[in-house]
């Protein structure tokens, strides 16, 4: 069932000579429970696309609908509600509040949505245990490693049980072992049926997806289904056979 669908999206920056078509005639459909990876060189517009999908920015033209509701037509309050209830965002630079502990960071979206402090705290602790960070609940972000911080950010994105989680270069600032942590988390989320749209240039992250889209100069140029397809034998990969 289609959860997120975008048609003929356009977003331009600048004018005249300096006009940049960040998103140029993009169509996208994401099914419930699907993980979609969008890859492309830097500056190709994938982050802009994600911002449009998440209601952080408005398209110049085109439609976006989430769970049947049109997003592109929403006013400021509607968009805020969207960000609160339907969409969870994960940023490349984590964007955790430095002056709040882990659990306070995670419960913030719930508090902003008007839930009672107790309910928000309970949900936050639940999410932290799901992401394996329960013992870090009272830590400040400065006391966490990069991978842990991003996991906290993912937990925060899940605070209000969003329909779709949008991740913008989630491992961009992480080293390889931290990348593994986050990778594992995304895999778990996928198993649990969470719909994910991940923008990345890391092929490892992309490989967790069901579907991979290549973007270049603002438009989609290629689409690959990663589930199914030819299954090479692992031994051949390892060079055991000739």
């Amino acid at each position: 069932m289609t959860l997120l669908s975008a048609r003929a999206l356009h977003k331009n920056y600048g004018r005249g000579e300096a006009l940049v078509r960040a998103v140029d005639e993009v169509d996208l459909e994401v099914e419930t429970g699907e993980t979609v990876a969008i890859m492309g060189p830097s500056g190709c517009g994938k982050s802009t696309l994600l911002h449009l999908l998440g209601g952080l920015d408005r398209p110049d033209s085109g439609t976006i609908s989430l769970a049947g509701k049109h997003v592109d037509k929403l006013g400021e309050r509607g968009l805020a509600r969207l960000r609160r209830e339907a969409v969870g965002f994960v940023f490349q630079s984590f964007h955790l509040m430095d002056e709040l502990t882990t659990v306070e960071n995670v419960e913030l979206p719930a508090l902003l949505a008007g839930r009672s402090p107790r309910a928000a705290r309970r949900r936050a602790l639940e999410l932290l245990s799901r992401t394996g960070l329960s013992d870090r609940a009272k830590f400040l972000p400065s006391a966490l490693s990069g991978g842990q911080r991003q996991r906290v950010a993912v937990a925060r994105a899940l605070a209000n049980d969003p329909l779709v989680v949008l991740a913008d270069e989630p491992t961009g600032n992480l080293d390889s072992s931290a990348t593994l942590e986050v990778l594992r988390l995304f895999d778990d989320l996928h198993e649990a049926g969470q719909t994910l749209v991940i923008v990345t240039h890391d092929s490892r992250i992309a490989a967790t997806a069901d579907r991979m889209i290549t973007m270049r100069d603002g438009s989609f140029v290629d689409e690959t289904w990663l589930s199914g397809g030819t299954m090479g034998s692992l031994s051949k990969l390892a060079g055991l056979e000739g």
Partner: protein, 174 residues
Amino acid sequence: MQQEVILAMLAKEPSHGYELRARLRAALGPVGEDLNAGQVYVTLTRLEKAGLVAGTAEPGQTRPDRKVYELTPAGQQRVAAWLAEVSWPKPDLTEFHLKLIAAFAGRLADPLAIVDAQRRELLRRLRDAQRAALGEPDDSDAALLLEGIVLRLQADLRWLEACERTWTNRRSRS
């Protein structure tokens, strides 16, 4: 390896043995400096014997480097199959590299399409290997081996991206 490469190079047009050698060396650069002259001619002779190329000697010449070679229909078929092949891993990257060059020079296929196809295949394999790696306990021997496979695939994928960039530029220039 070399067999298919030479076949592909003949796809553009028939050429002399020495011409083929020159083009190969140009395509390989420093990597090709060690290329044995004899290798090319030996391969040509073998291909001729296998019926994949047909060599026409200039009047009064029998030496391989002076013969003009061209593809036979069987050879053409072989080239087509080779271009579509996506098996991996290759012991080195040279074959893939020359495949792209040959495809472009002989207008046999779009190098970008070849790159994309290979990328897709590698991504699927990466997914499989990664899945398997995640399924193993963290410190196990299996996990370590699989991690190695994953990292290599990742490295190859990065190179394929570079190929894509380069060939895109070339195409837009030509």
